[in-house]
């Protein structure tokens, strides 16, 4: 459902993040000195540049910070999926960590199944994971069941 042309580029720096997704967990870099999280992944730890960051598992729980609904002109498969939703999620552990993603009703669902009008900023969400191919699994988001 996602074109290979727009799939993430995996390198030595970000591989643990994408491997984590393959294993169904959300992982972040963390500063060993200050415990602050780091996202997106990068080679040098901005919170203490002499101390190499470590990888840590996070809850995958967060809150919807923003939502949009892209319409054409788009490219590749996103044209066929449009209009779809895209959201920004702030992470429970640190609200200054934000992830871009899509809200889906359940695992395996398409990113155009929940309408923009039905998405409320501030709603709690949980990461789930969608396998795209042997290399890539993308995080998606579902509403937290109350």
């Amino acid at each position: 459902m996602t074109d290979s042309a727009l799939l993430p580029f995996i390198d030595d720096t970000n591989r643990p993040f994408w491997r984590g997704c393959q294993g169904g967990i959300l992982r972040m870099q963390q500063c060993p000195k200050t415990s602050r999280l780091i996202f997106p992944p990068r080679p040098v730890n901005p919170w203490s540049p002499r101390d190499k960051s470590i990888w840590t598992e996070v809850s995958g729980r967060g809150t919807i910070w923003s939502v949009i609904e892209p319409h054409p002109p788009l490219i590749l498969n996103f044209t066929k999926l449009a209009p779809y939703n895209a959201i920004v999620v702030t992470l429970e552990e640190d609200p200054s960590i934000r992830l871009i993603g899509n809200l889906v009703p359940a695992e395996g669902a398409q990113i155009n199944e929940i309408a923009y009008e039905d998405i409320v900023i501030g709603t709690p969400v949980q990461a789930i994971f969608e396998t795209i191919n042997d290399e890539i699994t993308l995080p998606r988001w579902v509403l937290v069941r109350q």
């Binding site: 779809y84 920004v88 934000r98 993603g101």
Partner: protein, 384 residues
């Protein structure tokens, strides 16, 4: 400080439109010749060249085609729509410090035709070039409008801003363009209903929240204040300039920081006003970078015309129009005159200070010109 030590003495531009026959290089050369003629300065005197890193042609190509002489200073500024005031500011520093005597800055672009029409539609290598797009494009956040829409959506939620506020921006600028024969939209009027019924591009943003796609070029000539007094035109002094981006800023994907709605404009503004005798309340007219309508309320806040969260309400009551509290983008700007990475905002600022703008703000003596919010940015304060 370089306060008032340099002045813009020449401006030049080409036609703005779609599918112009000239190449980007030819358009650039035309704009530069026009700017030198406007200043009354011979091209043999040019010894400094300032441009955008995204300019398709180098200083060397421009100089060879225009038959320029020895060039003693050249420099480029990055980040597309974040560059303009930085390009001028760097040139002003070079002139003020004697690195060059006659400096030319330009921007030429064929965004409405040619191979680079929509840079975001590139696939493949872009994620590798930019660490952050690796975490946005796979989720369908592909275009600049999607990135700004995510900020706009949050802004509207947090501060109660509405589409009516964004329409205020689009309509004010269209009205200016309708009275500007150089504007691409000179003949196309817009009503609030036109705005409200236009198609979605990235909800909550519609077609008219987006800038134009333009072929065209513009240029300016900068010399010392002493030299400026002998030029053909009324000198427009570069009173202050600044650049800025904040901690953990990410160009365009500015979500990975503490406070995305408190963007680079705030940093540039702080440095700008620190060097300036002219403060926000003293600004008569403003040219604010407008690739998308939400950048106007965000920048109004960043540059201190209102408090945080009040930028949308500031667009009410015709505040951005002639006679309003702060006429903004009086040529029609990127939304309705031409989108050339903000360079037409600089030249419009000069026209306002000369008193020759198509939508002249009477007795305007001070003008703010900004680059883009959401990218490493910059700003100028121009004065008569």
């Amino acid at each position: 400080m370089i306060k008032d030590k340099t002045a813009i003495v020449g401006i030049g531009q080409t036609a703005f439109g779609k599918k112009l026959p000239d190449s980007e290089l030819e358009l650039a050369c035309t704009a530069v010749i026009n700017a030198l003629d406007d200043a009354g300065i011979d091209r043999a005197e040019v010894d400094g060249l300032a441009s955008y890193t995204q300019e398709a042609h180098s200083e060397v190509e421009l100089a060879r085609n225009l038959g320029l002489g020895d060039i003693s200073w050249f420099s480029q500024v990055g980040y597309g729509g974040g560059a303009g005031p930085g390009v001028i500011g760097n040139l002003a520093m070079a002139v003020a410090t004697g690195q060059c005597r006659v400096g030319v800055a330009w921007r030429s672009r064929k965004r409405a035709s040619g191979a680079v029409r929509r840079p975001w539609s590139k696939t493949g290598s872009s994620a590798q070039e930019d660490i952050a797009t690796n975490y946005t494009r796979p989720f369908g956040v592909i275009r600049p409008v999607d990135e700004i829409a995510l900020l706009a959506s949050r802004y509207m939620h947090e501060y109660g801003a509405t589409r009516n506020h964004l329409a205020n921006v689009a309509l004010a600028q269209r009205k200016y363009a309708n009275n500007n024969p150089d504007a691409q939209m000179v003949d196309k009027t817009m009503t609030r209903e036109d705005y409200m019924t236009s198609r979605w591009i990235s909800k909550p943003l519609c077609l008219f929240d987006n800038c134009l796609e333009t072929d065209g070029a513009l240029a300016t000539v900068v010399v010392s204040a002493d030299r400026a007094r002998d030029c053909k035109q009324t000198p427009v002094y570069i009173h202050a300039w600044a650049q800025g981006f904040h901690a953990q800023h990410q160009t365009m994907q500015n979500f990975f920081c503490d406070d995305p709605l408190h963007g680079p404009s705030w940093v540039a503004a702080r440095q700008l006003y620190r060097q300036s005798d002219i403060q926000a309340q003293d600004i008569d007219v403003a040219q604010i970078y407008d690739a998308f309508t939400p950048l106007i309320p965000l920048s109004l806040e960043g540059y201190g015309f209102c408090d945080r969260g009040e930028g949308a309400a500031y667009t009410e009551n015709g505040n951005l129009e002639i006679g309003g509290a702060l006429p903004v983008n009086t040529s029609g700007g990127g939304l309705s005159e031409a989108y050339v990475h903000g360079f037409n905002l600089i030249t419009e600022g000069v026209k306002q200070m000369r008193g020759t703008a198509h939508n002249q703000v009477s007795d305007a003596a001070t003008c703010l010109v900004t680059a883009g919010e959401g990218v490493p940015t910059g700003a100028l304060i121009l004065r008569r």
